[in-house]
Symmetry: D2
C-alpha cells in the first residue's frame, strides 16, 4: 500500500536523518502556505480532518512516541494529548473525530509553536545522539506518517474547497502539464507462476507490507496505462449509472440513495462536465486519468469494459518489475497527467491510486508494529478494498 523509501535508521546516519526530518516536516508547513487562517479549521465531512489538526497530530506523534521517552521531558501542553491523539485507544481518551473542525482553540499560532518546539527538541536530541534504536525506528515511522498526512492534507483541502460554492483555488501556480497524446490502451501479459510479494524487509516498511511471502498466480494481463476521463465519459454516456447489472448490490443502493450520476468531483454545466481541482473548477481534462472514483465505480467500469480490476498480488507482481517513479507530490502538478510514454507499463506509480479487487487484510504471518503503533494499521483490516500505487498527492 505504500511506497518503500530508503531506510535510514539502520545506517545510523543521524545527520542525514536530521536533514530528512527537517525536509519532511517543513514540507507540511509549505503545503499549508496557500491557506488563509480561516481555512485551517475546515472539516467538511466527518472523514476529513482540518489542516490545523493535521499539523498538530503529526507533531503529537513525535512528541508522544519519541520525546516522551526521553528522561525529564516536559510536554508542550498537557491538553494536546487528548486533542491530537487520532485513534490510539492504548494511549488514552481522545477528542471525537467528528468534532475536530470545532477546535478554534488552540490557535493556529499555538500549533505552529508546538511544531517548532517539538522539532527543536527532536533535532537537538538527534544531534546529541540521545535516541535509542527503538526511538530512531519510531522517528522513521513518524516521518512516513507525516508524509501520509501530507497526502491527506491535500486530499482534505480539495474536499473542503469543493464544498464551498465559491469554488476556491488552492494554488494558481501549480506546474502545468505539457499537453500530451494518450497512448492507445493495450494489454500487457504476465505469466503464470510462483511469485514473491510483500516488502523484502531491507529498509523501512509499514507493518501491513510484510512479511514477504510466496503466492501462485495464473497468467493475467494488465492495461498499459490508467483509464482516462474521456474513457470514463463513454461509460457515463452509455448510461452506466442507470444500469444495475453493472454494479455490485451495495453500489447500486448507493447510486439510488444518493442519486449518483458521475464521479464526486465532476459537475455538469450546460451539458459539459467540469472537474474540481486544487486550481478550482476546470473543464474536464479528457486525456488525463480519471481520479477520485470509489471502488464501486472502478469495479463497475471494469465490468462494463469487459474486464476486471487486478488483485493486489497481480498489481504487486506487475509493479515490482517497474522503477518507482511517477507523478508524485514532488513533481508539483497535483493533478494526474497523461502518460509520458507509450512503451510498456505506465503510471503504475503516482498520478492516482489504483483500485484492486482485493479486500484489505493481513499478509500471511502479518504482525502489527510493536508498542504504541500496534494500532497503526491492523485494526482497520476489514471492509475496505486495497488501493495501490500512490498518487500525485503522495
Amino acid at each position: 500500500m505504500n511506497i518503500p523509501i530508503p531506510a535510514l535508521t539502520q545506517e545510523g546516519n543521524f545527520s542525514r536523518l536530521s536533514l530528512l526530518y527537517q525536509k519532511i516536516r517543513s514540507r507540511s508547513l509549505d503545503l499549508t502556505k496557500p491557506l488563509e487562517i480561516e481555512d485551517f479549521n475546515l472539516q467538511a465531512m466527518p472523514d476529513v480532518s482540518p489542516p490545523k489538526w493535521h499539523l498538530a497530530h503529526t507533531t503529537w506523534f513525535f512528541e508522544t512516541l519519541i520525546l516522551n521517552t526521553l528522561p525529564q521531558y516536559q510536554v508542550f501542553d498537557p491538553d494536546f494529548h487528548y486533542l491530537f491523539n487520532s485513534y490510539y485507544k492504548g494511549l488514552g481518551l481522545y477528542h471525537p473525530r467528528t468534532q475536530r473542525g470545532l477546535l478554534s482553540k488552540p490557535s493556529l499560532k499555538k500549533v505552529q509553536d508546538y511544531r517548532q518546539t517539538v522539532d527543536q527538541k527532536i533535532l537537538n536530541a538527534l544531534e546529541k545522539e540521545r535516541f535509542n534504536t527503538e526511538a530512531l525506528q519510531l522517528l522513521e515511522l513518524g516521518l512516513h506518517h507525516e508524509e501520509q498526512h501530507q497526502e491527506l492534507l491535500l486530499t482534505d483541502i480539495q474536499y473542503n474547497f469543493f464544498t464551498n460554492p465559491l469554488g476556491p483555488v488552492y494554488r494558481e501556480d501549480l506546474r502545468k502539464p505539457h499537453n500530451s497524446q494518450v497512448t492507445p490502451l493495450k494489454k500487457l501479459n504476465y505469466t503464470e507462476g510462483l511469485y514473491q510479494i510483500g516488502h523484502p524487509d531491507k529498509g523501512f516498511s509499514f507493518d501491513n507490507e510484510k512479511p514477504r511471502h510466496q503466492i501462485f498466480l495464473k497468467g493475467f494481463s494488465l492495461a498499459n496505462r490508467l483509464i482516462t476521463n474521456s474513457e470514463y465519459l463513454e461509460f457515463i454516456q452509455d448510461k452506466a449509472y442507470q444500469q444495475p447489472k453493472l454494479w455490485l448490490a451495495q453500489a447500486w443502493d448507493w447510486i439510488e440513495k444518493e442519486k449518483i450520476e458521475h464521479p464526486l468531483y465532476w459537475q455538469k454545466r450546460d451539458g459539459y462536465f467540469w472537474q474540481f481541482t486544487l486550481e478550482g473548477w476546470q473543464a474536464l481534462h479528457l486525456n488525463t486519468p480519471v481520479a477520485f472514483i470509489n471502488f464501486f465505480e472502478a469495479d463497475a467500469f471494469a465490468r462494463w469494459a469487459g474486464s476486471r480490476l487486478p488483485t493486489e498480488a497481480e498489481w504487486e507482481v506487475a509493479a515490482s518489475q517497474e522503477e518507482i517513479n511517477g507523478n508524485f507530490l514532488e513533481k508539483d502538478y497535483l493533478i494526474p497527467l497523461a502518460p509520458e510514454t507509450n512503451q510498456g507499463l505506465s503510471q503504475i506509480f503516482g498520478d492516482t491510486w489504483e483500485w484492486t479487487t482485493s479486500a484489505y487484510g493481513p499478509y500471511p504471518g502479518f504482525k502489527t508494529f510493536a508498542g504504541a503503533p500496534q494500532e497503526y494499521n491492523g485494526k482497520f483490516m476489514i471492509n475496505q478494498m486495497v488501493l495501490r500505487g500512490g498518487s500525485c498527492f503522495s
Copy 2:
C-alpha cells in the same frame, strides 16, 4: 416576544436614525472583538450560525431589502445573495443552514469590507434623504433584526466555546455582579378580567406582536422573581430527572435518549456543579437565576414545585404593569443576576427569557409584514413554545 423600542421612521428624524444605525451596527463588530479569527467560522451544531455569518447576513439584510431598491445600486458581490440569505425562499435559493460553518471563503476581511461598504451607502443615502417611507420602515426593521442577531451571536459563541474541551473564555473583563441576597419567593396576585394585550401600535413592533386585542383572564398569580440555580439544584437533588411523572412524554423520551441529568451548561465535577459562561467554567452561582433550560425543564420544574408556567397572556398582562428595565446586554454583565429589589415583581425583563405555557401562534388578526419580510416570523408559528422578557444577551 420583543421589547418595543421607540419608533424613528415615523418622526422622519434622519440624523437621529443615522446615529442609531451607526450605534447598533458598530455594536455587532464590538461584540466580535474578543474573538480570534479562527472563532469566526464556528458552527458547533446546525442551529448555531458562525459569527462571520451573522455579520454578513445582517448586512445582506440591509443591502437586499433597502439598498437594492435604490436606482443603479450595484451589489457588493453577487455570490453573497446566495451565501447570506438565511431563509427567505421568496428571495431565491440560499446556502444550506447546516453548512454555514464551512464557508472559510469569503474571508472575514471581505465580510468586514462588506459591512463598511453597505454602511457607507446607507448613511450616505440617509443623509441625502433618498429613502422612501417603506425603505425607512425596513431600515428600522433591519436595526431590530441586527439586535436580534447580536443576541444570537452571543448565544452561539457561548455554545461554540462550550463544545471546546479547553473551555475558552470570551471575555474576562465583564462587569462583575455585586454579591446580593436572594429575595424570598412569593406570589403576586392578578385579578380576573378583560385585558388588552399585543403591541399598542405606537412606534415599531414586530408583526407577531400585533394586533392589540382583548382577552379574558381568570385571576392568576406569578412569582415575584426568577427561580435560582439553588432552587433548581433542589429539583435535581430530589431526583427529578429520574421521575417520568414530572415530565411531558416527549420530554421524558428526550431525557432517556440523551441521558439528560442537568441543564445544558452544567457539569458535575467531584460532586459539585459548574456552569459554563462567557467567562468560561465557573462554580455554580447559587443565587442567580437558572438559565438555558429548555421548555421541558421549565415545565417539569413548575410541576415539581406544585405550580405551572404562566400563559403568554398572563405574562404580558403582568409585564405591562412594569417599567421596561432590566439586566440587558448594555449592562455588560452577560450573565443573569440576583434581583436588585425585594419589592414587587422583579426580573420580568432582562436576565433570562421566561418560558410560558403558550404555543407560538398568531394573535387574532395577525398579518405578516408586507413584502420580502413576510417570511420574517409567521412561517415559524408551529411546534414552539413562547419565551418572553429578554435576557442579559438582548
Copy 3:
C-alpha cells in the same frame, strides 16, 4: 376533543351500564370480523398498533384499573401487564411501541379468551354491585377508552391495508352514500363576546375537556361545511405543493424531504386521482370532504383560500350551538359524505376531524385524572395541534 356521551355511573344504573359495556365491548370484536387472522398483527408504521394489540390493550385497561382492585383477583396472565400496557409509566415497564407488530404470541385466540374472561368478571362484578364509585368511574372511562381505540383500530387498518400493494378491501358491504349535491360554500358569522367553553361537567368528560371557563372572542366566521376533495384538487392544480409561501417552514421541509404532492391516501394514475378507503382503491370522490390531510395541509389550504383555520375556542363556540349528530361510526358509511343539508352549519360533528389553529394545551385550571389515568392525556400536551369534531370512524 371528544364527544360527550351521557354519563352513567352517576345514575347508579348498573344494568344499563352492563348493557352498554356489552355493546361497546362487542363492537370492538365486530370491527375485527372482516379481518383474516394474518391481518391482526400488522403494524405498518411505529404509530400504528396491530388490531390484536388494540383488543388486548383495551382489555388490559379494564383488568388493570378495575378488576385488580377487587380482593383476590387473579390476573389472566402475568405477562400481559408488560405486553399490553401502552404508556403508563406509573404502572411499570412496557413493551416498546414499535415492536407491537412482532408479537405473534400470545395468539389471537388467547387474546380473545382474555377479552371473554375479563368481560365475564366485569359483568359478574357489576351484577353483584362489587364496584365502588371510583371503580365505576374508571369503568366508564374504560368504555370511552375502548371507543377511542375502535376509531384507532379502523384508522390503523386503513393505513395497514394502504401499504399493501394489493390494496386489500376491509369491507365491501359498507352502507353506500346517496349521491348528493354539494352545498355552496358560505360564511357563517359569530359575534364578539364572552363565551363559556369546556365541558359543563354534567356526565362524563375527559380531563382535557375541563374545566368550563370563560373566554373573550372577537367576531369570527366559519365555513358552513367541510372542504371537498374537489376544492382540495383545485389547490393541488394551482401548484400549491410547489409554492413555499403557502406553507409553514416545517411543512415545507416535510414537502421537500418526502416529496409530497398530495394527501396521504391519494394516488395519481394516468392523470387522475384515486383514493384509498376501507373499500379499497376508488376514483376520487369529488363531492365528499377531503380527509386524512395533516395540519400542515389544512393550514396551507386555508392560507391559499385567503382564510385561516378556526381556533379551538371558535370551533367550540360554534359547535355548542349545534346538535351532536353526524356521520359517525354507527352510520356504517366509514367514509365522509357530502352534507345532508344546505341550511346553517353542517358536518361540524362526524365525517372527518377538523383541524384548529390551536396547539394542544391545558384549559385554564386543568387537572389530570386522579390515580393511574393521570397519564391519560396531560403528558401529551405539547407540539400537537387540536382536532375537533369526530369522524366517520368515531
Copy 4:
C-alpha cells in the same frame, strides 16, 4: 460456501429428480408445521424474511425461471412477480425487502395453493420430459436455492421468536443430544505447498465455488474442533468485551454503540448465562460449540487466544481431506453438538458455520451463472467475510 450434493440433471434421471423435488419441497412445508398462522408474517428486523415469504419466494423461483419458459404457461397470480422477487433487478421491480412482514395478503392459504399448483406443474412437466437441459439445470439450482431458504427459514424463526418477550418454543420434540465430553483442543498441522481449491465441476455447484484453481499455501495449523460456549465464556470473563485492543476498529465502534457484552442469543440472569434456541431459553450449554457470533467476535476471540481465523483457502484444503458428514438439518438436533470423536478433525461440516479471515470475492476466473441467475451471488461479493462448513440448520 456450499456443500456439493450429487448432480442429477446430467444423468437425465427424471424420476429420481422428481422424487428429490418432492422431498425438498415438502421439507419446506414440514419446517413450517410447528408455526401458528400468526408466526408466518414475522419480520423482526430488515434482514429477516417472514416464513410465508420464504415459501412464496422459493416457489416464485421455480415458476419464473422454469415454468415461464414453457409455452402457454399462465402465471398463478400476476401480482406475485412483484411481491416475491427477492432482488433480481433484471427481472423487474420488486417489493421492498423491509416491508415483507407487512404482506398479510396474500394469505398463507393462497401461498400454500401457489406452492401446490407450481409443484404439480413442475412434476407434470418433468414426467412428460418437457424441460430442456437449461431448464433442468435451473431446476437443480432451484432445489439448492430452496435448501438455502430452509436454512434461512430456521435462522429467521429463531430470530423472530428471540425478540418476543415470551420466548416462544419452535419445537419441543427435537432430538436430544447424548451428553458428551469435550475433546481437548489441539492443533492439526498442514504442510506448505501448492493445492487445488474450488469445485471440481463434477455435479452441481454454485457459481461462486468455481473455477477450481491452484493456490500456494504456507504450512498452517487448524484446531481439531470448534470452540465451545465454555471457552467463549472464559473470553467474556477475561473482560474481552471491555478491551479495545482485542477488536477491529469497526468492531469496537459496534461494541460501544450497541453496548455489546455477549453473543446475540445469550442473556445474563442472576449471574448465569442463558441461550435462546429453537426449544426456547435454556441454561448455557457449556460443552457445545459457540454459535451465532459474528465475524468481529470470532476474530477477537482468535486474537485473544493468540491465534487467528483460517483463510478460506486453508479451510478448503483442510475440509477437502474429510468426509462430508456432520450435524446437519437432517439429524434433527437443530443445535450444535459436542464433537463425536476425539480423533482427527471434527465438526468442519455441520454444527455451525465457521468464520474465515477471507473477504468474500470471486475465485480467479469466476463467472456468474448465465441468464436470470446471474444476480445470484456475484453482486454481493463486497464487504462480507466468508463463512464455510454449514450448520445444524443446513
